[in-house]
């Protein structure tokens, strides 16, 4: 495991106290996990607020204004309130499945962050199969949604869960294929390697300039993966009341809610890493570049959400299989030919 500055600092601290060996490693890991968790919770809280603000301003209103300055504490209030809420388990629900669904959703959303490079050296663990790991772990979300749909013993929830499973299975493929183009060029699945392969040219040698099609495919598929409008069918409020989370209340709902926003951040972070050159960029510190790019993608996703109607479920499938998939293959062909020819 490569020890980054923050590791070193923690280790040093522990050595002073007199803790070494495996115990120290364990403490370091826990501390790190807590940090990532805290950071992500902060980000998720911020994103919720930001989304509400953006939607409000698109709609010429103010959004939250009462909690804190311009409502910055709104999400905190929401979270604290949700914790206080009664935790209802429907009488006929499958209790175990019902309980574990939000946990899995929450954990898998956060687990993806182990391999995301927030900046130069700001990565928990640079796995050499990083991108594969992310794709694998984010797919757990789908299982949790399916579990939520099944466990609730509610027909709307069930339809929502089924929809999400079908949707995720369909969109996973173009998503992976679009990333594959980058992996082919970078020659590695490690997130750090992918970012580093895009350095140079004053920090502007980003994959998006070489594979714009791949980026578009990724963005569309990622929107679907994050269950955002126009692909938010699993929880289509107007058709399925609230979709898979219809029976969830209190903390369990908060988990789903936060996981949704964390997922959105995840897909944006991957887009940044894979297509927008990660932390690469001139002048500014690397983490600012990374955060800036990610938030820009998040912003784009938000504008999508507040501009477009929702697709129908069969159109969604058709779009994935008949449009996105061929385009993704086309993209791979193009990358293969040009990578060989131009020797990127």
């Amino acid at each position: 495991m490569e020890l980054y500055p923050i590791f070193g600092w923690l280790d040093g601290l522990l050595e002073k106290v007199g803790i070494t060996g495996p115990t120290a490693d364990l403490i370091t890991l826990v501390a790190l996990a807590a940090m990532v968790f805290g950071l992500l919770s902060l980000i998720a809280l911020f994103l919720v607020w930001w989304e509400r603000k953006i939607s409000a301003h698109i709609q010429q209103r103010f959004g939250p204004m009462m909690a804190g300055w311009h409502g910055v504490l709104q999400t905190v209030a929401d979270a604290v309130k949700l914790i206080q809420k009664e935790d209802i388990v429907p009488t006929l629900a499958d209790r175990k499945v019902f309980f574990w669904a939000p946990v899995i959703c929450f954990v898998s959303a956060f687990a993806a962050y182990i391999v995301i490079p927030f900046g130069e050296g700001l990565i928990v663990s640079d796995l050499n199969i990083g991108i594969l790991y992310i794709i694998a772990i984010t797919t757990f979300t789908v299982i949790s949604l399916l579990m939520a749909g099944w466990g609730s013993n509610n027909k709307y929830a069930l339809i929502g869960g089924m929809r999400s499973a079908a949707q995720a299975v369909s969109y996973e493929i173009p998503l992976v294929l679009s990333i594959l183009g980058v992996v082919m060029v970078a020659g590695s699945m490690s997130m750090v390697d992918i970012v580093e392969s895009q350095s140079g040219w004053g920090g502007f040698r980003w994959n998006i300039f070489f594979q714009p099609l791949g980026f578009v495919i990724y963005l569309i598929a990622a929107t679907a993966e994050a269950n955002r409008t126009p692909f938010d069918l699993p929880e289509a409020e107007q058709e399925l009341v609230a979709g898979f989370n219809i029976e969830y209340s209190g903390m369990k709902f908060a988990m789903f809610f936060l996981a949704e926003f964390v997922n959105m951040f995840t897909v944006s972070a991957i887009a940044t890493t894979v297509f927008l050159g990660g932390w690469n960029g001139p002048f500014l510190p690397s983490w600012i570049w990374f955060l800036g790019k990610t938030l820009a993608i998040v912003f784009l996703l938000m504008v999508f959400r507040w501009s477009f109607p929702r697709l129908r479920v069969d159109q969604l499938m058709e779009f994935a299989w008949k449009v996105l998939l061929p385009l993704a293959f086309l993209n791979i062909l193009y990358v293969g030919v040009f990578a060989k020819w131009l020797n990127w």
């Binding site: 509400r52 103010f62 959004g63 009462m66 909690a67 309130k81 809420k85 209190g250």
Partner: protein, 175 residues
Amino acid sequence: MGIISKLPVFTENLPGGGLVTTSLNQILTMTQAKSLWYLLFGTACCAIELMATGASRYDFDRLGMIFRASPRQSDLMIVAGTVTYKMAPIVKRLYDQMAEPRYVLAMGGCAIGGGPFYYDSYSVLRGIDKIIPVDVYVPGCPPRPEALLQGCLEVGKKLRTQKLEDWSGPKNESR
């Protein structure tokens, strides 16, 4: 109730626990007041004003209120409009499905006491307080959006007067 409701029992026994409980109570009720998610549930004319209140000019979101379509996630049930005898069991059931702490706002004359349908009507329930407990009554037919906002602030005020210990959620079996 979530785990939080057990906290006061715990803190009471600590030294200085009374103060902790009070401030905790304040914080918790304040967050509730700032984040009243309402159930998107309208039956008649008032529902249109409810929608108008959610729209740009009056903007429920400003008060931290967003609509949830599912009763499980909502804190405030705004009964907007006439409730008939046919509808009454459903209103009751929706209320039962809501998670504690939950509040009810009766919007408009019909929900308060039958409104113009009080006399001579064979199908209108004369006041939803006959089936569910109501916290705040907002008169009007339909009330202006501002009046509704005022009513929601009033709900916030009311819930702040409550004590954490009082919230022992009724164990309702019909969920």
